[in-house]
């Protein structure tokens, strides 16, 4: 029986990886993928605790997260394509529309 702490550790490593990816990478696509990684880290947590606490709620939640992640990826990619078409940019640094 693998202890919960092991899952949590893996999940933490994955989450930090994703976080660092979001923070330091410039490419849209990679930022998006890093976000997916963070979501999956959360999923691992959910599944692990669901198993540990013998409750289905966590797994159901995981299914929701996966579904939402898929949607998010789709929307995110669409935005990226629109931004690319409009600005000819794949780099996060080039987009500062949020200013003002």
């Amino acid at each position: 029986m693998v202890p919960v702490s092991a899952y949590v550790t893996v999940s933490a490593i994955l989450f930090v990886t994703g976080l660092v990816g979001v923070l330091i990478r410039r490419n849209f696509i990679i930022v998006l993928m890093s976000i997916e990684i963070m979501l999956n880290a959360a999923n691992i947590n959910l599944v692990a605790f669901a198993n540990h606490l013998d409750s289905l709620a966590g797994q159901v939640m995981t299914l929701f997260v996966i579904a939402i992640a898929a949607g998010e990826a789709a929307v995110g990619l669409a935005i990226i394509i629109v931004v690319f078409r409009g600005k000819m940019a794949t780099n996060v640094d080039q987009i500062n529309l949020l200013k003002w």
Binding site: V22, L23, R26, V31, V92, N96, L98, K99
Partner: protein
């Protein structure tokens, strides 16, 4: 039945007023002719009712009260719209409706073709309503409605030709001067209520004998102020001559026969109160005598036919007050009645003259009219004879009675004032007659071509009035002789002379000597006028030049109008203007102390606002500005910067929570 008929007396003219008034307002739905029928018919019906009531009263002379409805009330006060029918009321009713009817009929001819014909009759009917309320009321408030109502109608009718500025001014003047009197009258009413606790005549007069002299004098003087205003006595007489701006029938009805005599009626009605106060009674007499003489002197030199008559009216009203003052109440009412006959006649005849001369009113441009307007001439002659005191005509009886009463009651000063005034009257009235009807014609040639006798509808009332002027005095002598005629017997239950005055003494000869004296006076007046205006027409001018200052003084009516203007009206307006300016600047600026404080407070708060409030606001703004300049650096618009901040914040928060939880858990 009785009640209904009494109520109908004022109701008929009221309905006619409403009909004619609405007809004017709704744009003349029916013709002028119909308006005239309604106007005259209603007064005729009233007159019929009045005669019926007279018949009843002859049978039962005791006062009868008829209450229409409860008007207003509260606490211990109840005011009914009620009527009191007694002999005095009956006499007034007959004068008002009878003479009023004749004048209405005359007006149909006189006002024919006027643009405001219906309006004229509406006003006249409203006047009849008010006047009837005035003489019929059973308490002071109803008297007061009539009192102010006739004032209003007088205002409306003087201002009948409202696009003439002089008419408009005369109307306002009449109303405002009347209001001064009315204010006094109001005070009298309050005083009566405060003293007696009621406003009903019957109750008041029943208690009047227990009145203490001071209160009685106060009430009497206040009432007198009202009477003086309404009856154009000194010092409030100046509106009446100006009131001649109205159409001539109005002058006859309102400013000669009825309304102006209301003051006399009121004094007689309240004789129970006046009898308690010899001082006030003396004041009445003095005012009357002074006015009689004063107005008569002005009348000597006036050249406007209607103004001569107006001053003559003021003078004759003075006679009536004089009569009241010497306690000859019956004589006052007697003179009121005869005066109503002959003065209405004179005014209407003057109107007929004016009508004939296409509106000319200046007697200097008349003369020699006697054969051109014969009927008018004869009735005018009758009227003049009556007023000047030609023996056995109505004026002679009534005037003689007043003067005789004054003499026998030892009011020698008043008596002298009276006969001198009578002398003046005889002179200026016969002068008026001579200058207007005899001598050579001084009429404009253009006007002269159009001279015509008035239509029948005007002449018939004139003839009736002339008849009354000639024989009307007989009601005062038949059957019992002087001071014991039918008229006096009828009035006896109402009016009683002051008990204090005592029975006049003197021989049997005295009344006849006095009669003779009155006759002599009239004769002297006539002869003087005859001398000046028939025999020596150039004499008046010579005399005028010799006594220039007297003439100027009289011609300018003693400058009373001008004096009132300078002393009352102008200063009043000036005060108004000053106050207005003060007020516009803000009374808050005039009320000095408060204003200073407000000013200082305002200055202080202005400073405070400028430096502290605005200052603090500015500082806040500046601080914000500065902070913004620093903080805006954080807003790069780059997503990962935001993400980094977010993560940093998260980490800090989580650490803090953990830290606190630990510390919390540890403690």
């Amino acid at each position: 039945m009785y009640d209904l008929i009494v109520i109908l007396i004022p109701l008929f003219p009221l309905v006619a007023f409403l009909a004619n008034g609405l007809n004017v307002m709704l744009g003349h739905r029916y013709s002028d002719e119909k308006a005239a029928w309604i106007g005259c018919g209603s007064v005729f019906l009233s007159a019929c009712c009045a005669f019926w009531v007279l018949g009843e009263t002859l049978g039962h002379p005791a006062p009868r009260t008829v209450v229409a409805y409860r008007w207003f009330f509260g606490g211990d006060l109840t005011v009914n719209l009620g009527f009191l029918i007694d002999p005095l009321t009956c006499v007034m009713l007959l004068v008002v409706t009878g003479v009023g009817f004749l004048i209405h009929v005359y007006s149909v001819g006189y006002m024919h073709g006027e643009k405001g014909f219906t309006r004229f009759f509406a006003y006249m009917n409203l006047f009849m309503v008010s006047m009837l309320l005035l003489v019929m009321g059973n308490n002071y408030v109803v008297l007061f409605i009539g009192w102010e109502g006739v004032g209003l109608c007088s205002y409306l009718l003087i201002g009948y030709y409202y696009d003439r500025m002089s008419a408009a001014k005369a109307a306002t003047k009449a109303f405002v001067m009347n209001r001064i009197g009315d204010a006094g009258f109001l005070l009298a009413i309050f005083l009566i209520f405060a003293t007696f606790g009621t406003l009903d005549y019957v109750e008041v007069f029943a208690k009047a004998s227990r009145l203490d002299p001071a209160t009685a004098t106060a009430i009497a003087v206040c009432l007198l102020i009202g009477a003086v205003g309404k009856s154009a006595q000194l010092p409030l007489y100046t509106w009446l001559p100006d009131a001649m701006e109205g159409p001539t029938p109005v002058s006859a009805l309102i400013h000669a026969a009825t309304m102006v005599t209301a003051g006399v009626y009121m004094v007689v009605r309240n004789h129970a109160i006046y009898n308690m106060t010899p001082d006030a009674l003396l004041l009445v007499g003095v005012i009357g005598g002074a006015t009689a003489l004063f107005a008569a002197t002005i009348g000597l030199v006036q050249t406007d036919i209607k103004r001569v008559l107006a001053y003559s009216t003021v003078s004759q009203l003075g006679f009536m007050f004089l009569a009241c003052g010497v306690g000859a109440y019956a004589a006052a009412i007697f003179h009121l009645v005869t005066h109503a006959f002959f003065k209405a006649l004179l005014f209407l005849a003057a109107g007929s003259v004016i009508h004939a001369l296409s509106g000319e009113q200046d007697i200097r441009r008349m003369g020699g009219l006697w054969n051109k307007v014969p009927v008018t001439h004869w009735v005018f002659l009758a009227g003049t004879a009556a007023i000047t005191g030609v023996p056995f005509l109505s004026g002679w009886w009534s005037k003689d009675e007043i003067l005789g009463h004054a003499y026998t009651h030892r009011h020698y000063v008043l008596w002298t004032l009276g006969w001198v005034a009578a002398l003046c009257t005889a002179f200026y009235m016969s002068r008026l007659l001579y200058v207007t009807f005899y001598g050579e014609s001084r009429v404009d040639r253009k006007v002269a071509q159009h001279i015509h006798e008035s239509p029948k509808v005007m002449l018939v009332p004139l003839v009736i009035l002339a008849f009354l002027s000639v024989v009307g005095g007989l009601i005062g002598v038949i059957p019992g002789g002087l001071e014991n005629g039918w008229f006096h017997q009828f009035l006896a239950p109402v009016v009683a002379t002051p008990a204090a005055a005592g029975v006049p003494e003197g021989g049997h000869l005295e009344p006849y000597l006095l009669m003779l004296w009155t006759t002599v006076i009239a004769l002297v007046g006539w002869l003087t006028a005859h001398y000046f205006y028939m025999l020596k027409p150039d004499q008046p001018d010579l005399l005028m030049n010799k006594m220039k200052w007297v003439y100027t003084l009289l011609l300018n009516k003693y400058w009373v109008d001008e004096a009132y203007d300078k002393i009352v009206v102008e200063p009043g307006k000036a005060v108004g203007r000053v106050l207005d300016r003060v007020d516009q600047a803000g009374v808050d600026r005039a009320v000095v102390a408060v204003e200073r404080m407000t000013d200082m407070g305002a200055a202080g708060s202005t400073w405070f606002e400028k430096h502290v409030i605005y200052g603090s606001i500015n500082v806040t703004g500046y601080a914000n500005h500065l902070a913004a300049r620093v903080l805006r650096q954080l807003q790069t618009g780059l997503v990962h910067h935001y993400a980094a901040i977010l993560v940093t914040g998260l980490v800090v928060l989580v650490n803090l929570i953990v830290l606190f939880l630990w510390w919390g858990g540890a403690s």
